[in-house]
Symmetry: D3
Subunit: 273 residues, 6 copies
Amino acid sequence: MLAQPASPLKLNRLLLTGAAGNLGRELRPRLKAYCEVLRLSHRSDMGAAAAGEETFIADLADKDRVHAMLTGVDAVVHMGGVSTEQPWEPILAGNIVGMVNLYEAARQHGTKRIVFASSNHVTGFYRQDEVITPRAAPRPDGFYGLSKAFGEDLAQLYWDRWGIETVSLRIGSSFSEPRDRRMLATYLSYDDLERLIVAALTAPIVGHSIIYGVSDNQTSWWDNTPAKHIGYRPQDSSDGFRPAVEARQPSIDRHDPAALYQGGAFVKAAPHG
Amino acid sequence: MLAQPASPLKLNRLLLTGAAGNLGRELRPRLKAYCEVLRLSHRSDMGAAAAGEETFIADLADKDRVHAMLTGVDAVVHMGGVSTEQPWEPILAGNIVGMVNLYEAARQHGTKRIVFASSNHVTGFYRQDEVITPRAAPRPDGFYGLSKAFGEDLAQLYWDRWGIETVSLRIGSSFSEPRDRRMLATYLSYDDLERLIVAALTAPIVGHSIIYGVSDNQTSWWDNTPAKHIGYRPQDSSDGFRPAVEARQPSIDRHDPAALYQGGAFVKAAPHG
Amino acid sequence: MLAQPASPLKLNRLLLTGAAGNLGRELRPRLKAYCEVLRLSHRSDMGAAAAGEETFIADLADKDRVHAMLTGVDAVVHMGGVSTEQPWEPILAGNIVGMVNLYEAARQHGTKRIVFASSNHVTGFYRQDEVITPRAAPRPDGFYGLSKAFGEDLAQLYWDRWGIETVSLRIGSSFSEPRDRRMLATYLSYDDLERLIVAALTAPIVGHSIIYGVSDNQTSWWDNTPAKHIGYRPQDSSDGFRPAVEARQPSIDRHDPAALYQGGAFVKAAPHG
Amino acid sequence: MLAQPASPLKLNRLLLTGAAGNLGRELRPRLKAYCEVLRLSHRSDMGAAAAGEETFIADLADKDRVHAMLTGVDAVVHMGGVSTEQPWEPILAGNIVGMVNLYEAARQHGTKRIVFASSNHVTGFYRQDEVITPRAAPRPDGFYGLSKAFGEDLAQLYWDRWGIETVSLRIGSSFSEPRDRRMLATYLSYDDLERLIVAALTAPIVGHSIIYGVSDNQTSWWDNTPAKHIGYRPQDSSDGFRPAVEARQPSIDRHDPAALYQGGAFVKAAPHG
Amino acid sequence: MLAQPASPLKLNRLLLTGAAGNLGRELRPRLKAYCEVLRLSHRSDMGAAAAGEETFIADLADKDRVHAMLTGVDAVVHMGGVSTEQPWEPILAGNIVGMVNLYEAARQHGTKRIVFASSNHVTGFYRQDEVITPRAAPRPDGFYGLSKAFGEDLAQLYWDRWGIETVSLRIGSSFSEPRDRRMLATYLSYDDLERLIVAALTAPIVGHSIIYGVSDNQTSWWDNTPAKHIGYRPQDSSDGFRPAVEARQPSIDRHDPAALYQGGAFVKAAPHG
Amino acid sequence: MLAQPASPLKLNRLLLTGAAGNLGRELRPRLKAYCEVLRLSHRSDMGAAAAGEETFIADLADKDRVHAMLTGVDAVVHMGGVSTEQPWEPILAGNIVGMVNLYEAARQHGTKRIVFASSNHVTGFYRQDEVITPRAAPRPDGFYGLSKAFGEDLAQLYWDRWGIETVSLRIGSSFSEPRDRRMLATYLSYDDLERLIVAALTAPIVGHSIIYGVSDNQTSWWDNTPAKHIGYRPQDSSDGFRPAVEARQPSIDRHDPAALYQGGAFVKAAPHG
């Protein structure tokens, strides 16, 4: 949690979806500093509400619940839905149907901005010796990445058609520390994740912008120059973890697609409808 | 129907989905020349099978039927699904779920190439004073265009991951003649549609390629140069229809989004979840 | 003059400036077919008005006269001002001050579209072995080209700020025939000039578009692909004139800047303030 | 003022125009360190000359005075002319006629390099969610920005034609501190302005180069990568001022063109001829 | 042979190297029409000289002979050297050492322009579903393509350093007719080869330009837009040969690198040093 | 020498060619930290082998010696061959024939990665007011730069054809300190050279990547963004040397090609075959 919030701006009511997920739990205490009321949602129990919190159990595929969830909300940090490669059905429910429900509700309830947890797996089939920008065309590495590409296109539609702003974060690997050699390139520290979300919430004008969510790692496949207007500046890096990671994983099989493509092991997880 | 097929190559069994739709009915007699057996599918009755035809009633959202439909098929011309802006649910069923069913079946049954009827509405929110290529990022103009963007990304995934080839045709306006001034730019004659599909079926290597489906109209918003490898050369044009169209529609309201954006009236058809 | 106008659309009152200039005289009888009333303007006498014509003597640097000139006008074909390299003062008066007067008058009188005779001399300092598009940054070859670059930027401003549409024509060499080897690349026949202006007047949406005015010459330095939405298709070519031109000018001095740069002899005409 | 000049190089006589303007006053004591004699010019009184200074009252529209002003000058820092949106006539006099006078005088007197205070308002009609480079085509937001686009094109001409080098600085907002939220992106500290001018004066080869004049602000719309050869590295940032600025201006009206476009309030200042 | 030479321009002495090779024999009678004297060279006997011909036996690796060969030559059509994939040594001698000898001799003898038979194998490792321009970076498919990339770089050096002009022709497949399905895309008719060489010889200014040598085939991987200044317009096409070719080669093995890459079978010819 | 190697990864046997050259002598003690055995090669004596070292005298043009040299090698740092502008023959032997020998030996002996000392002179004919990326097309400034362009194309071939990875380092000016004003832009400190080589050796996947070898100098002509995947971050800069350099070289002759082009004095060193 950042010692000092980056911005004194305060939203009235901010909705955090997926609040009981891995990143949701990390963000829950952090985002409280940027709003009067933090509404938390998840499809299952997320514990008792603390001061300034509201909890709201909702399945994203349930249109009525999603509409209720958006009532009175100024902005959304949408971490909900499926966040790993899985069979098609749960991805369809959470990330396709759920996204449409969310944006339709946002449109009807007048929500003005959504920070959408997209994923680097939207472009997972680019190679690790390619450097791409947020304008790179989608090359999803599975149903999960495909559903996130859908989410980005949906966000573009709601901006072009209805003026709802979105920042789509193509999040790398946000964990307490990088776990393998691939993550030396994709690591996003929790503090940088907070910085990124705050920048996305507070940038004056974003339309629909796409940005890779990554710390200031020495090795990188992503060039965020076209998203400089967001004002995100990472402060952390995977570099300090490098010796330990390399010691644990001293060699790489360059014939393994998981080593060759940016999506890592996701490119081998079989889509199965 | 072209007097002489462009190519002597013959597929064994070619599947035409959406065979009873507007374009499907036009293509049914034309595609027979390029295959031994033309399997026709639609979700409702499509009349009796002629010589060399097979009919197969299937709802694309029905996974089992779609798997049966793909059995023994060499290539697919996928015109099925929803082809206009509609409420979300039928688009979800036909164009999202149906597409996943189709590609999963193609993967399991060894189909090697799919010609996919995508749409110019994938990029309908570009302006009519912009010229774009097939590499332009999606700016869908509604749920229909959004579903076609999804289809293109799915096709990319099945190429990158499974080696199934697709040509995505961002079809303009394929009718017997252009009906309004917008169609002077977007018109695709039926003969050129046939040429385009045959080129897409017979080009030696296509990976996943995207191409705009449009005749050789004087005015155009689309530059197909990056798809020259497909070998599609339109022979028709909207130009001869221009006087009649302009006489019928002498003026344009430049403040109307339908006149400003490439998607035309689709940009105003409200998405409603 | 085209045997048959390209379009049945008729403007009510069309203003042609520079009507007594070289191209103005050529266009005067041609443009009559596209409007009810053709208002002709020049800074000096332009002869008696024919049926359907109005004449209006005006110096473009005279703000009041220009305002009067624009009254009741639907569209403008702006051929007026200085059209060759000259000392700064007349260029300033005709092409800088005169352009501002014209657009301010158009704004106040509600004129909706201007076809502006810009010039290839906006980009005259590109080399003859370079191929550029209308998006190439200005490299003017003298005060004349500089003033036309100013005109294009002014047109962009009035589109962005006030919604007045302009097509800026970077005209090559519009004469009855190509006069030297450079014009084999830059030649624009009078019929193609007419086609270009009609396309620019009748394209549904143009915003501010830039297009090179050139026939379908075998050799070309200009790629108009980004302006395909204008719908201009040249029908003529310098090719038939090539033997005679090459016989008259059998050799080229490749050390002569006039042979090296696209602007030809203009690049050597000294600017002198 | 930088504690230590960035470079020991000393020009003999450096001309600073607009010496009594806002930035001129700030630069007057700073630039003294980089030359033997600092010639100061303004159209009105600029106080007594200090040691190593010369003062020279001149209206830029007065050709003879401008010629005299350039006599014996090695390089020019051209801050003179109109620096805000104003009616057309003073902009014409100071920024159009005055620029031509300046460059003609430089040509005749052998001045080799000019650092030209252009403006971000040359590209003011790009949106605040777009990141552009110095190669972005002009989209001026008023007569002021239009005149600066003219100046850049003039500089390009004098480089291509006469070999006079210019660095055009598209200056952001150079004040003692950022005054509003837009300036968090456009702020250029006085020290960074000095660094930028010194880099532009001392870079070995510049031809005609364009660079945005901006500090190292977290949020930025401008990518100066194509101008890395200038060697400008900002040391300051608007970031420390952010809390105070946001406290003073807690909300933004996203429907206000001044909030949407990079030019800010300039996009609404009516051009009036 | 073209019924009528494209241009009345006549060179005094034109050198054709590789005159007894496949394309040299085809060009020998054709090029006579464009020069007073056609000097023919080959490393072995090329038959008796006809009227207006000179023959000159020379090994390109023999520096002294190459210098003698260039004496009195106005321009060169360089078809000599190795033209297929071969072991490294002959390629080194003919295409590396020989090229340096040729350009050094041209420099010392004042030859002004060279038309260099480069090859599509410079870019043979691009895929057949990619469309590239002459600016595509080299991806040679063997020692032969590598040597042609070397030749292009050498030509660039002699232009930048010594002002000798070259047009590098990345020739496709120039035979009497296309022999297999790949050649449907790469076919260059002999008449079009003549047109291309004449255009390259007579274009006023070429610097060092690169252009793909290909007829107007329906299917193409190459976009020559950046070389429009050469003025090459193919008149022939592989299209008429398509039915026969496809009948002879009805199927393609898409797992065969020769089918996947633009270089065809060359990509499998093992380099062996 | 870096106090602490950047990476704990250890190669078994690493070959350093050109070990007795200027950079080879600098690298010899540094590279020992990254491998079990450092094999050193040069065409002449390189002194006694220290612990963990092997010495191997070999002329690169001697195919058999080169094959022996590659036996048992995991990776190569190829600093050998000619490293300055020289007559053609030694460049041919060392940098053309020698490179082919090296890669053929690597292919036959199973070497997996080569770090190739290419040179900024591959692109020496770009101007000093241009900023280029590693994707810039070659514009060599002499036989030396030409031979390095050949080496890069060879490396590309062996990657596309045989899967041997190369990082081509377009090294700037690697000396103990910058010696003139040009080197303020091109300086590469020895520590940064070590960082660059280590990054190139240890990046997980590189295919064939090109990167400029340059420290973090304030002024730069090179943008390494497309090579971010290498993970090279310079820590040094020429900036501290600037006052001394500028004092020694106070003025620049802008008409001198050595001052105008990135290659500096190399552009004037006459190629002589």
